[in-house]
């Protein structure tokens, strides 16, 4: 029986030079890209003024993120809507596709979530510097703070700023990894019970399965919620960069 950690194994599918193998992780990323693009396009094929079911899905996704950008990043953030949308749909599909049995959850890898978080972080920082020049660094000294406290406040603000990508990436990765591990642990528990105690074990083994049913539902919630949290924080960072508090 596979251990609870084996589902996170990276398996090269196509060997490529420089260690850039096309792996199961890359495959599911590709499926996320193709899948999300298909969802967005399928609904819009022969788009009508009164939307059908599929069209409603793409429109809901669009308006959900458009509303989020409007409310949390401000009107000036409209040009960055496609970026925010891409972040959301990539994470959402990464999380959601991972709920398919035997699928690989690429968002359960810290390096993937960190790459995404670092991308957001670099984008937001460059955006701030581009919009405000050196004035951007006033972000580290909140307005109205006494200058005498600057030696304390500035380092704290800088650390909190730098820890953004870390918390962003760890939150997502930890949730996905912990959730998937837990599902596997409970499922494995049933099997172990059966193997160790025979018929009695299988009878008692129904309990972990019942818990697992709840966990699966919970994981679907987490899959959506973590994509939502990741995106909304991206929006807030963009607002900070645009408005400097």
């Amino acid at each position: 029986m596979a251990g609870p950690i084996e589902q996170f194994e990276i398996v090269p599918l196509v060997k490529l030079p420089l260690g850039l193998d096309y792996t199961n992780s890359a495959l599911w990323m590709t499926l996320a890209v193709v899948g999300s693009f298909a969802v967005m396009l399928l609904g819009m094929r022969g788009a009508k003024t009164v939307p059908g079911r599929f069209q409603s899905v793409s429109e809901l996704l669009y308006e959900f993120i458009a509303g989020m950008v409007r409310d949390h990043a401000g009107h000036k953030a409209t040009p960055y809507f496609p970026f925010v949308f891409s972040v959301f749909i990539f994470v959402l599909f990464g999380n959601a596709l991972g709920m398919i049995p035997w699928a690989f959850t690429f968002t359960s890898h810290i390096i993937v979530t960190f790459t995404l978080a670092a991308m957001v972080f670099i984008f937001v920082t460059l955006l701030g510097i581009y919009k405000h020049g050196l004035h951007f660094f006033s972000l580290f000294l909140p307005e109205g703070a006494p200058l005498a406290l600057a030696p304390i406040i500035v380092p704290i603000e800088i650390i909190s700023y730098l820890s953004r990508p870390v918390s962003l990436s760890i939150r997502l990765f930890a949730n996905m990894m912990a959730g998937h591990t837990m599902m596997k642990v409970f499922a494995g528990f049933s099997v172990s019970l059966g193997a160790a105690l025979g018929v009695a074990g299988y009878t008692v083994g129904i309990l972990p399965i019942i818990i697992n049913v709840g966990l699966v539902g919970f994981e679907f919630l987490v899959a959506f919620l973590q994509a939502y949290v990741f995106t909304i924080l991206t929006c807030l960072y963009i607002r900070d960069a645009l408005e400097l508090h």
């Binding site: 890359a26 429109e59 669009y62 308006e63 970026f83 891409s86 993937v112 991308m119 990894m177 837990m182």
Partner: protein
């Protein structure tokens, strides 16, 4: 909201911590080759970063160039159409209201006209009636007058006749009883009696 959620997901973190505490020793001892937490195997970082960035850029291009503009177009068209329809409805409403005002004006005019006509006709009719009544009254008065004259005449004639009869009777009676045949005297006596009676 996120604060609540964070607290809510603590069990996840607990499991994660157990996994991280139990496994990293192995993971690092074996250089992240095998058996450890796959997430800590640094040999796979290159490919994951590379494919993650490449596929994200592909996704971004597909979304920003193809998918999102299409959805945005449809949504914009819809909102345009809705505002257009609302404007049209507003316009139609204004037109309807103008028509209602026009209609009510027409109705009021027609009512006033009808009232005038009715009162005119009433006036004429009552005038004609009065005229006819007048005429009939006059004709009746004339007839009554002639009838009264005729009656008076007939009465006078009848009275004359009665006097003659009375004179004749009286003269004859006197003649027969006392042999007096003075018609002059009898006539004056009868006249006197009739004058007393009348």
């Amino acid at each position: 909201m996120t604060e609540h959620l964070k607290a809510f997901f603590r069990p996840h973190f607990a499991v994660l911590m157990v996994a991280l505490l139990a496994l990293p020793g192995q993971a690092f001892a074996e250089g992240g080759e095998e058996g450890g937490l796959p997430q800590l195997n640094t040999h796979t970082y290159g490919t994951q970063i590379f494919w993650g960035l490449v596929l994200f850029v592909v996704l971004y291009l597909l979304m920003s160039r193809v998918a999102l503009p299409r959805v945005g177009e449809v949504l914009e068209e819809r909102s345009k159409r809705i505002t257009g329809d609302l404007e049209r409805a507003q316009q139609l409403r204004a037109e309807t209201e103008a028509l209602v005002v026009y209609y009510e004006e027409g109705l009021a005019k027609a009512r006033a006209h009808a009232g005038q006509v009715i009162s005119g006709v009433n006036h004429e009719l009552s005038a004609a009636t009065n005229h006819r009544l007048d005429e009939v009254g006059k004709a009746l008065a004339k007839k009554i007058e002639t009838a009264e004259k005729r009656i008076a005449k007939a009465q006078a004639e009848a009275m004359g006749e009665v006097r003659n009869v009375a004179v004749d009777v009286a003269a004859t009676v006197l003649d027969k009883l006392v042999g007096i045949s003075d018609r002059e005297q009898v006539t004056s006596a009868v006249d006197r009696v009739m004058g007393e009676r009348a």
